[in-house]
Amino acid sequence: MNDKFAISRRAFTGGAVVLGLGGKAALAQGFAGLGMNGGGFASVIPGKTFAFPADHGPHPDYRIEWWYVTTNLMDAAGIAYGAQWTLFRQAMQPGAQQEGWANQQIWMGHAAVTRADTHRYSETFARGGVGQAGVEPKPFRAWIDSWQMRGLDPIGDDSIAPLELTASGTDFSYTLRLDADRALVLQGDGGYSKKSERGQASYYYSQPYFKVAGSITIDDKPAQVTGRAWMDREWSSQPLTSDQTGWDWLSLHLNEGEKLMLFRLRQADGNNYRSGNWILPAGKTEQLASADIEMTPTAFTEIEGRKIPVAWRIAIPRLALSIECSPLNARSWMATSFRYWEGPISFRGSHGGVGYLEMTGY
């Protein structure tokens, strides 16, 4: 049952953090709470004007929020890596922010590195109000325990670059520098991203143009890596409808310089909600609707008794795009408090490139 409601970032599980901590009962409660129209939290409405760097910081009036970075990397020997860094925020109650331990925010961090032969991950939790975790817009800094995403001088407010990204688990660690020369991209309709036909939505912007350099250490063996990264920022109060069971999400870096974001929200009635964004190198975007997108699983891997579609055929006839996606490591399984699959992929076909795939609710 856990997985049914489990989410990660884009699956908008409001209950995520509490769910992870509290087990099934809390999970059900959290989910039920989400169905109840925001329950005193701020609502996501179209037409918001984004302001940076303020919007890089937390929005505690909304129930949930995240800062999410995925990187596709390669070392000097040509070995491919993926690295993820995620900070989730969840408010247990609406209302004015309380000081100290009474603060109603709970923070959760996930970090992982993936190679074809291994996938390492770590998870940590913190309460707001005491300084163990948090996000500050200026100078930009997002942290939980010793993990950190920090703006380096001189940071561009509209590009949120350069950044330094660090995380470590018992058997891995990484330090990466992220640079971007282009502005952020607002997803959906000017940053208003619909998640269902019934009006569920989030505020959503991305920085898909990061170039990365740094080092990844697995089992005390460091490797110098370079590559690309994609950051997602999203917040909402009531993101899912009750019949949405899970989520397949992709962020793709095309070799030609375009970027493509796609997601599919699976609904119990089989009417999956699909959406996407085709981002040209200059930053111009084109919205993709359910009818534009074909997503078909082509291979499955069984993990913990669940059948996970790790390879996909994606076709967008309007863009003359038809690709086959395959995972770097089919067992990129995040066996964290709630479980999901997230890992680097590569694709071939009408276009080639690399990206990240996230799947929840299996």
Partner: protein, 820 residues
Amino acid sequence: MSRLVWILAVLLSHWRRHPMQLATLLIGLISATALWSGVQALNLQARTSYDRAAATFGGARTAMLVSRNSATFPQQLFVDLRRAGWPVSPVVEGRIQIGGRSLRLLGIEPVTLPAEVGNAPAIGKAGLQSFVTPPGEMLVAPETLSELKLTEGVTPLASDGTLLPPLRVQPQLVPDVLVVDIGIAQRLLKMPDQISRLLVGKAKGRRAPLENIAGDKLRLVEPDAESDLERLTDSFHLNLTAFGLLSFVVGLFIVNSAIGLAFEQRLPTLRTLRACGVSAGMLNAVLLVELVSLALVAGIVGLVCGYLIAASLLPDVAASLRGLYGAQIPGHLTLKREWWIAGITISVIGALLAATTSLLRAIRLPVLAAAQPYAWQQAQHRWLIFQSALALIVLATGGGLLWYGDSLVSGFAVLAALLLGAALGLPAILERVLSLGQRSAHRPLAAWFWADSRQQLSGLSLALMALLLALAVNVGVGTMVESFSRTFIIWLDGRLAADVYLNAADDTQAAEIRAWLRERPEVAAILPSGRADTQIGGAPIEILGLADHATYRDRWPLLQASATAWSRLRAGDAGFVSEQLARRLKLGVGDSLDVPAPGGNWRLEVVGIYADYGNPKGQIAVNIAALTRRFPQIPLTRLGLRVAPAAVPALISSLQDKFGLDGRNLVDQARLKAESTRIFNRTFAVTAALNTFTLGVAGIALLTSLLTLGNSRLPQLAPLWAIGVTRRRLAAIELAKTMSVALITTVLALPLGLLVAWCLIAVVNVKAFGWRLPFHVFPLQLLELVGVAMAASLLAALIPMIKLARMQPASLVKIFADER
């Protein structure tokens, strides 16, 4: 398969014809299993709650960071350490009062609490939101809830008027502890942004060196393999285990004799089965199946009895553990599946052990040997010599252990060797005594009396051995307990020198109370005392500050002292050490020791050694002024008052009214004495109860041996009846024989029991508790025990004898009719 069932049916038909034998066998197995598993249940229960305590406190089981020099430290250090990669979780601790009761309040942080801190994460993470968001929840053990006379969900008021969070029952929680979220605890304890310690999770990863983050403010305390409570209570549990084992062995004696007898009686049947074509392998397999099935049945019944025994003893065990060590054991028994499995297993293993000789003989059984049902009794004579040799070896081993051993385990080994050696030697001794009797007898019937007693010995020896063991242990334990209580009461009289004891809430109140007391004419003296805690060699030590006053000089009992002991204390460079500590550190009067103190080590010369019964910690007594100089931060809230006895009640009630002191903080000598005595009596209540059980089991052993022997005795008795001795007379003779061997055994048990008592007092207690009691002998108690033993024997012997007296002459004639 059906063949196996038929053979089993043939074997089992024996029990239907001899239900008494079956009862004996089952009673033996049941009592062995029951006593053993009952004791194990108690130990298990206690250990589980120590684990729980250790886990809930985040105590000795978890690595911790604590302040080097104060009780608390700033919360920012927690954040700094987390940010440096340390998997730490903050805990704040203090005390609050509810309805006059002082309770430990723990503030935990459920989100970061390490998963390996036992049950605590479950406490914290179930219903996280309601636990952490104000008003939060206050977790409480069911026992504490009922002691507070509160119900779940109510929001109690603390004694200072603060409204506390609603109570929620948490069955895994130890009593007398309240658990709330750290934020709420900081507010209730008025310790904003302060924490008492940081629990360090096991998660590995990159972490910066401690000094880089916390400087020298914090100290890492490594986890102990076992909790403090476990270490402290080890000796108590060893005691229980030893008794459980003894009862188990006594039970197995019964099983052994029942199985041996059944085997002998079934020899012809076994031979017939072989002759009729049952192979040896099949027969042995079926014998084994039969035994294991009986053991399983007995095991299950035994476990149920064990459960009942444990449940009835638990309150005493819990009380003595609380009194002795402050260990909190829940009053209701919860048993794990492992306990049931272990109990059944021990029953089967016990049955197999007890049946080993019989089974081995069955395996080697020749089909053609002439049928000699009671040949084993003759073989017993050879066995007697072997057994006596074994007894000597065991006793010699015990002597060696006594000489060279230096641990509690070796102390118990000495005890076990003494008992086992004596039991093994018993038949030989009885044989000597009876043959002496035989030589001195002149009349034919008297000669027969002794000779037949000797012959009967082999059949009774196991039961008599059990009786000897049970009696000796009874004498031993009885003597120890009696010695203890006598010594303790005398000691307590001296030790509780003041007439009223009070403990003020804080130093300010103490000062006010002292000022007030000085104005009271009935108060002859105010004796301030103080207590500091430190460690020597990793073990906790209490340092007691005593006022320089004639009250102590006159009454405080010292075991050894230098001539000017009391005046030497004044200078602050000398102290008394408790007997336990003196033994542990091998200190004598004139030696010196270094006591860790805040300002550096404090060198003290030992000028006296005093008894400190019942204290698991080592203690040092020094002058109170010297103590406050060395430990400036200790509270000076404890006062002893010398008051004329008649004035005590009035003084106490005025103190209560004026300063709001309750029974926990204000107590008169008489109550304290009664309380202490009660605790100490309960300490040995369990021992005494097990003792009684053991004696009961031995009584059953005797009864069943006599009953099973009864029938086989007929061929010996029939000729006497034939030559004109009446049945009534025969029964009387039989009774006299049984009683005389029982009496001899009982008389032998007395010196053995005194030896056991000496062993307990001089070896086991010293190792277990660190104190040695003076050894007293209590003749009246011994006499009483002899009476009980003889009554038990009489009761056991009576039933078979009545059967004999009422036996139909035809049954006796039959002895001659078919020569079996």
